[in-house]
């Protein structure tokens, strides 16, 4: 079996770990990887696109199964909207396949580079989480190989405990080999988008809650540098699908060329080099300037039409933007809070970040609802994602600050999402998952993986294994 020792990174370039990488393209590859791991007394982690902000797809000193080349769309039915994919298929491949036929993936992340295997493992959500739930709710069926060697098929009816465990299971119960999803019908390649400004955190959360039912998608931008009475100010974008017949020109708007993001700025500068020009602004002062300018620009309330591709995949707008954070890279801290405590918690968190002179550089808010997956991160409330720049000088201080954040969040019924948080400890995870859930997961893990072959750095961190 071909392995290559490779230094792998998280998406934010803030964490590295060497591992023996194996390309997986078939079920046999997965079986052989498990066999090799057992022989060599090593552990295995599957890695898709490596877009998580933390250690979810890293396995320092162990085996990493690179799933990214196992990426064929095996079956697409444009009449029923059902699609069967190999686990390495990305959201990019998926939407580009289904959109021209008038369908759209019901749940997408802020980047289209993620693989379906990774999306299911983290049970990703989109800007429509309050309505459509996480991606797991749109999985009709999947097949997987367990570390025991068993090949299983799961659906909400068949092997339901594994269905709800493996989706959200952080890749620790088995390896997905095929995923069948239900797409959502759309009647135009465009969305109607409303943008309006928000003065402070209280009205920010109120606006998310009150406007969510009126829209199909809702997302807030939060000016992380504003303080005092403007703390939590920002801008909300609400988007709606067009109804059947509303877009007279849908044949045209469905076309991929009207969906894909432009590759140049002002038609001149290639965007692939843009991150270099962003670098001078990615510091405390520059970010204050950019945030303030953005807020002023957002004061005009306006509506417009935008393609699905452009609305959803903001993170892909500037390729390699995360490089502009420099040597130390970045981390993201995302907390999910019940609607009753969110304002109280985030007021404290934002104030703490200002007090420590460690402001977040980007803040994004969303509206959520609970789901029934085992390791769920969802709540009936909101989430706030904060991007922080990591430097050699600020690591210690930031670590202490984030541990403080964690305490406030879990004390107020909050939860975390492990495609994001990189510093949350096993003690904290146990508190918000609850002992019962952790125990249930451990039992499932023992059943699927009696020899403990599947382990990631994330798993060791949050389950203290």
């Amino acid at each position: 079996m071909q392995t290559k020792f490779t230094q792998l990174e998280n998406f934010g370039h803030s964490l590295r770990a060497g591992a023996y990488v194996i390309q997986a393209r078939t079920k046999d590859d997965v079986h052989s990887a498990f066999k090799l791991a057992k022989e060599k007394n090593l552990t295995v982690t599957a890695r898709g696109a490596g877009r998580s902000y933390n250690d979810a797809s890293l396995n320092g000193g162990g085996i990493v199964l690179d799933m990214s080349a196992w990426n064929l769309i095996k079956e697409w039915n444009p009449h029923t909207g059902q699609v069967r994919c190999e686990p390495g298929v990305t959201l990019e491949q998926l939407w580009q396949k289904v959109e021209p036929d008038g369908w759209w993936p019901p749940v997408v992340s802020g980047t289209m580079k993620t693989t379906l295997g990774g999306c299911l493992s983290a049970n990703i959500h989109g800007k429509n989480n309050f309505q459509m739930g996480p991606i797991g709710e749109h999985v009709l069926e999947f097949t997987a190989i367990l570390p025991t060697g068993a090949e299983i098929t799961c659906s909400p009816k068949l092997n339901a405990d594994l269905f709800y465990g493996m989706i959200s299971g952080l890749g620790m119960l088995g390896i997905f080999t095929s995923i069948t999803l239900q797409m959502k019908r759309i009647y135009s390649g465009l969305l109607t988008v409303d943008a309006f400004p928000i003065k402070n955190l209280h009205s920010h959360l109120l606006a998310l809650q009150e406007n969510a039912p009126k829209y199909d998608y809702i997302v807030g931008w939060l000016d992380t540098t504003a303080n005092g009475s403007s703390l939590g100010r920002g801008q909300i974008h609400g988007a709606k699908y067009l109804h059947e017949g509303e877009d007279k020109n849908s044949a045209e708007t469905f076309k991929l060329k009207n969906q894909t993001l432009p590759s140049t700025i002002f038609g001149v500068f290639p965007k692939s080099i843009l991150h270099i020009f962003m670098k001078p602004f990615v510091n405390n002062l520059g970010v204050w300037g950019v945030n303030t300018a953005k807020f002023i620009a957002s004061l005009r309330k306006h509506s417009f039409k935008e393609s699905h591709g452009a609305f959803h995949f903001l993170l892909d707008y500037v390729p390699n933007w995360e490089r502009s954070f420099g040597q130390g890279g970045l981390i993201q801290y995302q907390s999910f809070l019940p609607k009753e405590t969110a304002e109280f918690v985030w007021t404290q968190i934002l104030k703490l970040s200002h007090k420590n002179n460690l402001p977040a550089y980007l803040g994004v808010t969303k509206r959520h609802r609970p789901d029934k997956f085992l390791l769920s991160h969802a709540v009936d409330g909101f989430s706030l994602a904060l991007d922080f720049k990591v430097t050699d000088k600020n690591r210690k201080k930031m670590y202490a600050m984030l541990q403080e954040f964690d305490k406030i969040v879990v004390a107020n019924g909050g939860r975390f999402y492990f495609a994001k948080n990189s510093e949350t400890t096993a003690e904290t995870a146990k508190i918000f998952y609850g002992e019962e859930t952790v125990e249930k997961f451990r039992k499932l893990k023992k059943r699927c993986d009696p020899h403990g072959l599947l382990e990631s750095d994330l798993y060791r961190r949050i389950f203290n294994a």
Binding site: T6, N41, N54, R395, Y399, E423, D457, R461
Partner: protein, 267 residues
């Protein structure tokens, strides 16, 4: 396989996060002298450590000492002349540490023949087997690994004794000269892959090995001082250092003594 039931830090995991990055070092020849001093220094600087030595009891004691503090240190009793054990032991170490950033090879033996007219092939062979072939057995898979990862640092402890073949100890001179040349070759291979290879040439260091040395041992330093020098050079990713630094000048002169004079000297 060697006995690997030895010390594992209990209840502590070598976890790395973006805000708590771990540097992981493997020290081969760690149980005493410069190796132990370097292990203590690296522990103080926050490294997670894998310590290898054939002296199981001393290794265990050092590990226990380090693990009582914040440090995480694993111990692996192993004789570097058991070349076949290296690949699987290395794999275990990398898995235990969760990666590998730095490797320091300082396992070495010195058996002076006991006079300028004495010869001892068995001893010479042993010195080459430990000091040179032992190093090659470890650094071969490590160099390959670092080359693939395009990252890493290799530190080899040579000696001023490798700079010139002298009357006193031909076998030791040869093993250290060979090691220095091997490290230079690795440096030339690996620098282009962003791997740093540091050759350290200590003068006299007050260790067990020094007690065995014959003749004068001028300017002898404490192993802790050598460890500080080595650590500084590691941080600056230097290519070659003498410790203490002035040996550079001494050895410069010695290296340039013409052979017709050097042949007549008795050191």
């Amino acid at each position: 396989m060697t006995d690997q039931t030895a010390s594992q830090p209990t209840g502590k995991l070598a976890l790395a996060t973006p805000l708590n990055p771990r540097r992981r070092a493997l020290v081969i020849g760690a149980s005493e002298g410069m190796g132990a001093a370097l292990a203590r220094k690296l522990a103080k600087e926050g490294y997670v450590l894998a310590l290898v030595s054939r002296q199981k009891d001393k290794l265990q004691a050092l590990c226990n000492e380090l693990n009582t503090k914040e440090t995480i240190a694993f111990s692996y009793p192993h004789d570097v002349t058991k070349y076949n054990e290296v690949p699987s032991l290395l794999q275990k170490i990398v898995a235990d540490l969760g990666g590998l950033d730095t490797v320091i090879f300082l396992a070495g033996v010195n058996f002076p023949p006991g006079g300028v007219d004495k010869y001892n092939f068995e001893n010479d062979k042993k010195m080459v087997e430990v000091n040179l072939i032992g190093a090659m057995a470890w650094l071969t898979p490590i160099a390959e690994m670092f080359q693939n990862a395009k990252a890493g640092q290799i530190v080899g402890i040579g000696s001023v004794a490798g700079d010139r073949g002298r009357v006193g100890n031909p076998g030791y001179n040869t093993s250290k000269a060979g090691f220095a040349t091997y490290l230079e070759a690795l440096r030339n291979r690996l620098t282009r892959h962003d791997v740093n290879v540091l050759t350290v040439k200590p003068g006299f260091v007050k260790t067990e090995m020094l007690k065995a040395a014959q003749g004068g041992t001028p300017f002898a330093i404490e192993p802790e001082k050598a460890a500080d020098d080595i650590y500084k050079a590691m941080q600056k990713r230097k290519q070659m250092i003498y410790t203490p630094f002035f040996w550079r000048y001494i050895m410069f002169i010695i290296q340039h003594i013409p052979s017709f004079i050097f042949r007549k000297l008795s050191f």
